[in-house]
Symmetry: C6
Subunit: 70 residues, 6 copies
């Protein structure tokens, strides 16, 4: 997966959200909106935790967009 | 499929769910929610069994997210 | 397509359904449910026949899940 | 695209439908059903003509299933 | 992308529509129908212009089918 | 990802929209329309900012089409 290279802008931005513990919002292919903090990313998935520290593993192929929560 | 590498966080987390016989919930591209225990994973699929030990083979490309059941 | 390797669990399970003439159910990306017996698989497709021996070629990229019929 | 190899069952079956001028039905990812005769296939697309010989180029990634018309 | 090869039937047909300034109709994965004239194609996208010469860049992965307008 | 090559028409057109600070409209696979200015592109994503300079990272696989705002 050449599109997962730690030097790419989107990978670095997600890494910054992890370090900053930034709350973010993901829009998924099913139209779901998931809100939480990203704790890790790998070439196929991103892991989000909610307020109760419940982890959700999201597949990258199902991602539509990502925004920081205001 | 470089995104299926047994050292990746999501593959290891799924492996842990298999070993722990953790009940999990999958959201699929069709908006279905499937609940059960994962019994194996391979590069293209994940196999879930329900309370009656009925197996369901899910294609990874149809996965949206995965959560442990509370 | 490395994800089509005859040693993989999902390929072997499908092969077993073919040999056993097991009736199965496929959920597709369009939300359709197709029921029948699998007669062959190749790296891109799976062929199902219904009660009238009418063949349907299904593309793997459209597969969501597969279950044996109870 | 290794999944387009002229020796594969689904490619040969489609080739047979072309030679036989068999009327077929395609289910697409948008839930559309297209009916016609296949006139060519290439690694990315399949071309169908209707009763008025109007061609429609369908992308393989949008194919769900294919059946001969009874 | 081996499926973008200028010798393939679908690439040549699209090239012919460009040269002929043929009005065409695209069905997209979102179920939208876009009508216009194709002005260029590259391995990932196709560019369509409408009656006001407004360009729309369409991603190939979102294409379902293509027809000439009658 | 050979389909991300800075010499390709769609990559150059997006680069031009970045330089021109052109307001654009994206149609996404979920049927959402996002409006804003593109600030960067990489092989997997495109980043859009709205009137409040709020960034949205969009995955390319979820893109359907792109138009300049009139």
């Amino acid at each position: 997966m050449t599109e997962f290279d730690t030097g790419l802008p989107h990978v670095k931005q997600i890494q910054k959200y992890i370090v900053d513990k930034q709350e973010v919002e993901f829009k998924l292919a099913t139209d779901d909106l998931l809100v939480g903090k990203i704790i890790w990313q790998d070439p196929a998935c991103i892991c989000l935790v909610d307020h109760y520290d419940q982890p959700t593993i999201i597949w990258r192929h199902a991602l539509v967009y990502l925004k920081p929560k205001a």
